[in-house]
């Protein structure tokens, strides 16, 4: 961990990043339409997972509210999509989510551990049911069509959201607030006595993480053409980010990204290649990963690297 | 009665104990002293069966116990009173004590043992119905000792029983430990309260950095210059 290795690796890493950026920035120009659609979906998973990790990673508060924030974005987009231009719709989606998260965050400050998880999960189902009731009994409709826009636009918007999410996550994790969040995860009481305004910090970061989920929902709605409370507030979107993050490994910042990409791709492959056995294979893979790769995929990577190092040392 | 010979213990790749050997005879009180992190708790956990030695042997009453599962070790007559006592917080004092009698050997006679324990610690009888979480520090420590005795042990392993106790309770505590021997029990004790423990112990071992560095009659150790300097702060 001395300075020389850091220095020598950094340009390489930045170069790789730049290359990836170029690769994805021009995907709609050279890739097939479907590859654009698929990558959009994978981006969506990354956004949801990374935004989840921003708050839940360091603090250890397992939020299951992702589906609520995502769904709020979707509904905002469905309602406003017909009257406002896209950027405004997306900002609105993000903002509505942000406000919801502020509210929920402020409400749930006392809750820790599983209680917080359950509250956030209840939130998803509650919104779903209330919306359903409202539509059925007040507006006498159910669901609504969403203005459809072209795939490349959706892709670029999602790409931008993704970039914003990752950059935000990166900078938060590097900032003093990242350290403070981590300390909250370790011992909230001690954090407070160390001068951290635990309440405000938690609430704001929670809301910031919701911002991205909301934005992702707002743009994703346009791909789904039709939405109703069950489609928009699907509990699956609460569990997926958690699973993807753990799958990738929470120890490292990039773990959640790797987890989301591989997890999403794996699912895609299974539901198309082995549709009748998708659940079985997927379940087995999950259990095996959890049993044999306790640190997630990143844990495996690190083990490899350590193993490599150990070997090198042994040889010299 | 207890014979530890040449054990090595590891945490992952880090070695915590290096070739530790010691012995405790019937109805003896033996103390183990050493700096923080010397490996005392590690040794006690190994004897008690929570950790397994990588090599070496632990014999109890002539039988090999190293590597046995915890329940078997408890059945064989060793009571381990862990660091901090660790009573079950949401069980009453009485239920905690009953848990101590979990080994079959003790379960059938638990009412009788309970009477004895209450005799030793009348305070526990007063608090019989109270939840353990609401006890004071001293009471918790008494409860832990009582719970250990409930298993009708031959050998008691104490890990820093005096931790965080007020001086007045300390007195009581050492008095009780001493009285255990009179009831035919053998005691192996870790203590930071070096002077007290050496005063009640017959023999003592000193552990430094995972190794036993000296041993002897406790009266003699009390006079030892190195011990005086390093552990008695004189």
């Amino acid at each position: 961990m001395d300075k020389t290795t850091v220095l020598s690796k950094k340009p390489l890493f930045l170069g790789l990043l730049f290359l990836l950026f170029i690769l994805f920035a021009f995907l709609p120009l050279y890739g097939s339409v479907y590859s654009v659609i698929l990558v959009t979906a994978i981006f969506m998973h990354i956004v949801l997972t990374v935004s989840w990790v921003i708050f839940s990673g360091p603090t250890g508060y397992i939020s299951l509210a992702s589906a609520a924030f995502f769904g709020v974005g979707i509904y905002t987009s469905a309602i406003l999509g017909k009257t406002f231009p896209l950027p405004i719709v997306i900002c609105f989606g993000a903002l509505t989510s942000f406000c919801l998260a502020l509210f929920v965050g402020a409400l749930t400050l006392r809750l820790r551990g599983i209680y917080f998880s359950m509250f956030t999960f209840g939130l998803v189902l509650l919104i779903q049911q209330l919306l359903l009731w409202y539509e059925v009994n007040i507006t006498h409709t159910r669901g609504r069509f969403v203005i459809v826009i072209n795939n490349a636009t959706i892709y670029y918007v999602m790409f931008a959201i993704l970039a914003a999410t990752i950059l935000t996550a990166y900078f938060i994790s590097r900032s003093k607030y990242g350290l403070a969040l981590q300390s909250i995860g370790e011992d909230e009481e001690a954090s407070a006595h160390t001068g951290i305004n635990v309440t405000v910090l938690k609430t704001i970061i929670f809301a910031v993480s919701a911002l991205f989920a909301g934005a992702a929902g707002a743009i994703m709605a346009t791909r789904w053409t039709y939405i109703d409370p069950f489609i928009a507030f699907n509990p699956l979107f609460s569990f997926m980010p958690v699973l993807m993050a753990i799958f990738g490994g929470m120890g490292q910042f990039y773990g959640s990204i790797i987890g989301a990409v591989i997890f999403a791709y794996l699912q895609e492959m299974l539901i198309t290649r082995f549709p009748y056995y998708y659940m079985l294979i997927f379940g087995i893979i999950l259990v095996v990963v959890i049993l044999y790769l306790p640190g997630g995929l990143v844990g495996l990577l690190q083990k490899w690297r350590k193993g490599d190092l150990a070997e090198k040392h042994a040889n010299t | 009665m207890l014979e530890v010979s040449n054990i090595d213990v590891f945490y992952g790749k880090i070695q915590a104990l290096w070739g530790v050997s010691l012995r405790v005879d019937q109805e003896e009180i033996v103390a183990l002293i050493g700096a923080n992190g010397a490996g005392k708790t590690t040794l006690l956990n190994t004897i008690g069966g929570s950790l397994r030695p990588a090599s070496g042997n632990v014999m109890f009453l002539g039988k090999k116990i190293a590597g046995l599962a915890l329940p078997a070790i408890v059945e064989s007559g060793i009571a381990h009173i862990p660091e901090g006592g660790k009573p079950f917080p949401d069980m009453s004092v009485r239920e905690n004590l009953e848990m101590g009698a979990y080994p079959y050997r003790a379960w059938t006679r638990k009412e009788e043992t309970l009477k004895q324990v209450y005799h030793i610690f009348p305070r526990l009888r007063e608090r019989e119905r109270q939840l353990a979480r609401t006890l004071s520090g001293g009471e918790k420590q008494m409860l832990a000792m009582g719970r250990g005795l409930m298993s009708k042990p031959r050998l008691c392993l104490f890990d820093e029983p005096s931790y965080g106790l007020a001086p007045i309770i300390l007195l009581e505590l050492f008095r009780v430990i001493k009285s255990l021997r009179e009831q035919g029990l053998t005691v192996f004790l870790i203590e930071q309260n070096v002077r007290h423990s050496l005063e009640i112990a017959d023999r003592a071992y000193v552990m430094e950095n995972g190794r036993i560095t000296s041993e002897g009659k406790s009266k003699e150790l009390l006079q030892n210059d190195h011990i005086k300097k390093a552990y008695l702060g004189l």
């Binding site: 006595h193 160390t194 001068g195 | 106790l165 007290h196």
Partner: protein, 245 residues
């Protein structure tokens, strides 16, 4: 000058009065000991001062201003730092990070990150842990974890430091080192209120001792006065011969 004072401080847990109507004060530059049997309410009093708990009645003032009613982080920034009876370190954060949190968030004025880092390193050196700065805090021995708590508290640049059982579980030699650390902290101009059961330590460095029993203050005075007090001997000290080590 009275840096800390409490009047009629009372705290109930359900029906139990953990602290009842306690009045106390600490003067600038003092080392004050807080003793009493297990369960007397010492830690509870610390929790009230540092705002971990909200008091039922009474008032606590720091430098003449009311601090009861503030939030823990506000009390910390006002200049009251503390350590915990059962260590509360951030186990997976490196030692330096633990202390850095104190200097980044806990100081009254706030400081630049460079200053904060300098402050943190200085605190670590002060307690003698600077060589371990990259180790995750959970890998330290208990004694060192306790020192780390002190360093973290010092990094918040406090005027008053509350120390809860720094010495428990240390052997006499380690105890002596810890005591020396406490005196050095006082020499930096920081006032100290400490809970301790080890009489030798308390008697040797405290200017004044407050004794709690069943949530009430039963005695207060110099170490000599306290050891001479019959009530204190009865409820707390027991046989003098054992008070020594």
């Amino acid at each position: 000058m009275r840096i800390l004072e409490g009047e009629g401080v009372t705290k109930y847990f359900g029906g139990l009065a953990a602290i009842s109507n306690v009045g106390f004060h600490v003067d600038q530059g003092e080392i004050v000991g807080l003793i009493g049997p297990n369960g007397a309410g010492k830690t509870t009093l610390f929790n009230l001062i540092s705002a971990a708990l909200v008091l039922n009645s009474g008032v606590i003032k720091f430098k003449g201003e009311k601090i009861s009613g503030l939030k823990p982080h506000q009390v910390c920034r006002a200049g009251v730092a503390r350590t915990f009876q059962s260590v509360k370190i951030f186990g997976n954060i490196p030692v330096l990070g633990n202390v850095l949190l104190g200097s980044l968030f806990g100081t009254s004025t706030g400081m630049s990150s460079a200053d904060a880092a300098r402050e943190a390193m200085e605190s670590l050196e002060f307690v003698g842990l600077s060589t371990m700065r990259a180790t995750p805090a959970k890998d330290l021995t208990l004694a060192n974890q306790k020192r780390l708590e002190v360093a973290r508290a010092l990094a918040t640049q406090p005027d008053l430091l509350l120390i809860d059982e720094l010495i428990a579980g240390l052997n006499p030699t380690e105890t002596a080192q810890a005591m020396e650390l406490v005196t050095r902290i006082r020499d930096r101009g920081i006032t100290i209120l400490m809970i301790e059961h080890v009489m030798k330590a308390i008697m040797s460095i405290c200017d004044r001792i407050i004794v709690l029993h069943h949530g009430e203050k039963i005695a207060e005075g110099t170490p000599q006065e306290i050891t001479a007090s019959k009530t204190v001997v009865e409820v707390y000290l027991g046989d003098q011969a054992y008070a020594g080590s």
